[in-house]
């Protein structure tokens, strides 16, 4: 796992250096290095996606098999934009997608994971734990935010919301995803198609 000093070193690399780590806007590394830890904090972005009630009885969490049209309506969601200085309220029991303010681009020899901040978790705001970041990832991180507490919680763009840990990945084992990928808004997609799962569901042997 990389120390904060090593992360700072990766961030300082220039241009096309293949070890270069990119986080935009740049974290305040002086503050992070002062804590002498192994993670850096990321801030909350301005886009959110909440889920709306609908007449659908359920939503299946797997992709339709190859070539088949989706038989179900997509989940009804609503995007929200909150300006700097504004608040987004997460009510008890509600779940919402957020996004990091930072756009991260990982080199092919780094991977990592994102966790919530304990100071927020203790107040009931839970962020998906140990979300994996693969080598070559590029984009803002979608955050799954839930209020498991008993009072509405206000969150605000620009606040430190989660932390990222990074570690080395052995070279040559990962395929480069290529140029231009990533998004600035919270994403919502189904898992990729799984042929094994499709065969299991399609097998009619009782």
């Amino acid at each position: 796992m990389l120390s904060v000093t090593e992360i700072a070193g990766r961030l300082a690399l220039q241009g096309d250096n293949e070890d270069r780590l990119c986080i935009v806007p740049r974290p305040e590394m002086d503050r992070a290095e002062g804590r002498a830890g192994t993670s850096i904090d990321l801030r909350l972005g301005r886009w959110f996606r909440s889920f709306e009630q609908s007449k659908n009885s359920l939503f299946r969490l797997w992709a339709p098999s190859n070539g088949a049209a989706s038989e179900q309506s997509p989940l009804r969601t609503r995007e929200h934009f909150v300006r700097f200085g504004g608040n987004f309220i997460v009510h008890p029991g509600r779940f919402v997608l957020g996004v990091t303010l930072e756009w991260l681009t990982l080199p092919m020899n780094l991977s990592g994971y994102v966790t919530g901040k304990s100071s927020l978790g203790r107040h009931g705001l839970v962020i998906e734990t140990a979300a994996g970041l693969h080598p070559g990832f590029s984009g803002c991180l979608t955050l799954e935010l839930a209020n498991v507490g008993e009072v509405p919680l206000a969150i605000s763009p620009g606040m430190e919301i989660c932390q990222v840990f990074l570690h080395l990945t052995k070279a040559g084992s990962v395929k480069n995803p290529g140029a231009l990928s990533g998004q600035r808004k919270p994403g919502l997609s189904l898992p990729a198609r799984d042929p094994v799962f499709e065969r299991l569901r399609g097998t009619n042997l009782g």
């Binding site: 935009v24 300006r83 756009w103 231009l180 990928s181």
Partner: protein, 409 residues
């Protein structure tokens, strides 16, 4: 209500109900999720004015029927006019809009129009950029800019907002008054130099020699309108650099539409822009100036067009030089080529730009990236085109973050 006949009573009631329904609509809109505070301020301002308008319907007994009718007519007009504005405000909350543009555009407006001017960005169900240029009676300090709904999230065409802000600047700087005299004089000179055209125009309008004033006024009206449009183009060019040329090209190329005499021809507008760009050191590949088709000018408008176009051409250099001097005095910074290259390098690495850059620099880099990738419309490039939009908007957001986190912006 002694003194009011039944018709007056019912008419006043109708006007009250009309205002009440309008106020209900405002109250409903007020619960919307506004991306920025300016829309909320606009709604509250309109609401207070309509509350005041309703009190004017409390007529004393015996009020004259003519007064009642006039007041009811005014209410009907106001509700009609401001229903359009409410629709504009409602559409400003739609997440298809690029909300990240607000801070940067408002900074440009503060610099060019004044610090207290407010901004609403919305979208229109028409494929033309649109503005209320500080021309709404109840919202005199508001600039409203609408882009075509299918393109309202397309940051590449944001430079066209520069043209729309230009219309507010034309009013704010009171340029109609400044240029009216020179336009009238130039029209008169141009007609004097082309007596056959003047004669043809008089004949066409079935006017005798005493009608020459009507011909001059009509030509002058078209010319001042053309000059306002040229002014707005040059305003957009100065604020947005080469990206304005590309956005203009995207919206209007290849030309060849029916000619509107309130505008120079599309091709001529591009020539004027190209000459002005060279003057202030803005560089772009000249592909945007090639292959502009000639607009279709109706036969009965050709004589007028020849006079008006000639007048416009004579005054454009003065308009251009006056504007560029004014913007330079206001410390409006031209896009910096080195910064554009830096932003472009970041996009080529698939990253947003990490340092401060202006809106014009970020969008110019986006256009360069797009044009160097053959327009990014091929099969398989659709996702990359979307990522480019996100990289630009994230870079704009980062510039805002940097400014806010280091100053009291």
């Amino acid at each position: 209500m002694a003194g009011h006949n039944e018709a007056s009573l019912l008419r006043l009631s109708s006007a009250r109900r009309r205002i009440d329904a309008f106020l209900d609509q405002i109250d409903g809109l007020a619960t919307s999720s506004f991306p920025h505070d300016d829309a909320k301020i606009a709604l509250e301002t309109i609401r207070l004015q309509f509350v005041a308008l309703r009190t004017r319907l409390n007529m004393p007994p015996g009020a004259a029927e003519a007064l009642i009718d006039q007041t009811c007519l005014h209410v009907a007009d106001q509700v009609s006019d401001y229903t359009e504005v409410l629709g504009f405000i409602l559409r400003s909350t739609n997440v298809r809009n690029a909300f990240e543009l607000h801070f940067a555009l408002k900074k440009l407006i503060a610099r060019t129009l004044g610090p207290d001017v407010k901004l609403l960005i919305s979208s229109e169900w028409a494929f033309v950029p649109f503005t209320y240029p500080m021309s709404i009676e109840m919202l005199p300090d508001f600039v409203l800019i609408g882009s075509p709904a299918p393109e309202s999230g397309n940051v590449l065409i944001a430079p066209l907002a520069g043209h729309e802000i230009g219309h507010s600047a034309w009013r704010k700087y009171e340029l109609f008054n400044e240029y009216s005299a020179i336009v009238a004089q130039t029209v008169a000179e141009e007609l004097a130099q082309h007596p056959k055209i003047e004669e043809a125009l008089l004949h066409q309008e079935q006017l005798d020699a005493l009608g020459a004033g009507i011909v001059r006024d009509r030509c002058g009206k078209h010319a001042i309108h053309q000059l306002e449009e040229v002014f707005c183009d040059l305003f957009g060019l100065y604020l947005f650099g080469a990206s304005y040329l590309f956005a203009y090209d995207f919206l209007l190329a290849p030309g060849g539409y029916d000619r509107n005499l309130g505008y120079p021809s599309d091709a001529r507008r591009m020539e004027i822009l190209w000459e002005a760009a060279a003057q202030i050191g803005i560089h772009a590949d000249d592909a945007v100036t090639r292959r502009w088709n000639v607009a279709n000018c109706r036969a009965d408008a050709r004589n007028t067009a020849s006079i008006v176009d000639a007048v416009t051409d004579q005054i454009v250099p003065k308009i251009r030089d006056d504007l560029f001097r004014r913007l330079s005095d206001l410390d409006v910074r031209l896009p910096d080529d080195e910064t554009i290259s830096s932003v472009l390098s970041a996009f080529q690495r698939g990253e947003p730009h990490a340092r401060s850059a202006s809106l014009a620099e970020i969008i110019s880099a986006g256009w360069r990236f797009l044009r160097s990738n053959d327009g990014m419309a091929a099969e398989g490039q659709r996702k990359q085109y979307k990522v480019l939009g996100d990289l630009m908007l994230k870079s704009i957001e980062v510039a805002e973050y940097l400014e806010r986190s280091t100053t009291d912006a």
